[in-house]
Symmetry: C2
Subunit: 225 residues, 2 copies
C-alpha cells in the first residue's frame, strides 16, 4: 500500500503546485478568483447570472462552469454576453487545478477583473481542492434545511463567505435563519454570512460590493510600491 | 501506476464481494433493502419519517443513516420508535458495503421487513457503490431546479424509483414537472417516477404501496417451492 500512498501524495503535490502557479498568474493579471461550492440546485448559476449582470458594466467578468454533463450553465452565462467555459467532468465529483489551467488555455477568459468558478454541485468533494482561487464561497439554499452547516462542516468552515440563498422562499419553509447563522459562526468565526435572493434582488448589492472591495484590496496589495 | 490500479481493482472486488454477501443475508432474512440517494436537503429524512410512520404498524422497519457528522438523522428516526444506526463518515462522500456490514454488527436492525439506507447527501459519489440493496431510490426536490436529471445523469439512470419531492412548493418555484419527467424517462425508460410531498402527504400512499408490493415479490421469489 505504501506505493499507492506515495503515488497519491505525488499527485496531490503536483495539483497543489499547479494551484500555486494559477494563483501567481491570477495575481499578475489582477484577477479576483472566486470558487463557488454548494449542493446541486442551491442557485449558484442564478446567483452568477444576477452577479455578472450587475458587475459587467464596470468590470471584466468571466466564468468557468463545472458539471458532470450538459453545456447548459455556460450557455446561460454566455447569453448575458459574458465569456464562459464549460468543464464537463464526466463522472468526476469536483474540479481540480489541472482542469482550470486547461480551460484557460482553450477559452480566452483572461485578462479579467473577476473570474467566477462554479464548481460541480457537491457539498463535500470540492472542499479540499485548491483551484488557485482567492477564496471559496459556500451557497446554502433555505430549501435545504437548517441543519446543514453542522452536517457538512468542512465546507462551511473553509468558505470565506457563506451565501444563504433563495430567502424569498422562507415563508413556505421550516427554516430557522438564526439557527443556521449560529452554526456558521461556530464553524467559522471569521466568515461572512450573506442573506440573498436572486429572484427578488435582496442582498445582491452587498454581495457585489463585497466582491469589488476584495478586488480593490487585491490590486492594492499587488501594486508596485 | 499499474500497482495502484491493481490495488484499486482488488479493493473494488472486495467491496463487490461484500455487497453480494449482504445481498444473500438480506435474502435469507427476507428484508427489502432500499438505498436512498440525493443532494443534501432534498428531504430524505423527512420522507423516511413519514414512510416508517405509515409502515411500522404492519412491518418491521429499520434505518441506517449516513452523514459526515451529527447523530441528528438517526435520532429523528429513533424518536418514532424505529431502530436506527448512524454511520458517521468523517469526510467521506458515500457509504460502502463494509460500513453497512459493520453497522449491522453494532445495532440489532435485523430481522426486519424493510431496511432503509439513507446515503450521504451527494448526487454523484454514492451512485456506483453497491450496498447489497434491492434497488436505489433517487430523490430530487423541486427546489433544486428542473435541469438536474440531465446534469447528474448517472444516478437517475440507475435508480429504480425517482421521487420528485417537496411538490407542495411548486407554486413558488420555476419548476416544470413534465420537463423533468421527460428527462427521467429518456435516462431510465423502465424507472418509476413518483410525485411526493411529505409535508402534505401527497404521493405517500403510492410510495408505501410500491414498497410493500416489492417486499411481497421478493418474499415470493425466495420462498421454497
Amino acid at each position: 500500500m505504501s506505493q499507492v500512498v506515495t503515488v497519491r501524495r505525488r499527485a496531490l503535490e503536483a495539483s497543489e503546485e499547479r494551484a500555486q502557479q494559477l494563483r501567481r498568474a491570477f495575481a499578475e493579471s489582477g484577477t479576483l478568483v472566486v470558487n463557488i461550492i454548494s449542493s446541486p440546485g442551491s442557485g449558484k448559476t442564478t446567483l452568477l447570472e444576477a452577479t455578472v449582470t450587475r458587475l459587467a458594466a464596470g468590470h471584466r467578468c468571466a466564468v468557468i462552469e463545472g458539471d458532470l454533463a450538459t453545456e447548459r450553465d455556460a450557455d446561460r452565462i454566455r447569453a448575458l454576453g459574458v465569456p464562459a467555459h464549460q468543464i464537463l467532468t464526466g463522472g468526476a465529483c469536483h474540479l481540480d487545478a489541472r482542469q482550470i489551467e486547461a480551460a484557460l488555455g482553450v477559452t480566452p477568459l483572461l485578462p479579467a477583473d473577476l473570474l467566477f468558478i462554479e464548481n460541480v454541485g457537491n457539498l463535500i468533494c470540492p472542499t479540499t481542492y485548491d483551484l488557485g482561487e482567492d477564496f471559496k464561497v459556500a451557497v446554502l439554499s433555505v430549501a435545504e434545511g437548517d441543519d446543514k452547516p453542522f452536517k457538512y462542516p468542512a465546507i462551511f468552515a473553509r468558505a470565506a463567505i457563506t451565501i444563504i440563498s433563495k430567502i424569498d422562499l422562507l415563508p413556505y419553509l421550516p427554516f430557522n435563519l438564526s439557527v443556521v447563522e449560529e452554526q456558521l459562526r461556530a464553524l467559522n468565526p471569521g466568515g461572512v454570512i450573506l442573506r440573498v435572493s436572486a429572484a427578488t434582488g435582496v442582498g445582491l448589492d452587498t454581495w457585489c460590493d463585497l466582491l469589488t472591495e476584495r478586488l480593490g484590496k487585491k490590486r492594492l496589495a499587488s501594486a508596485p510600491v
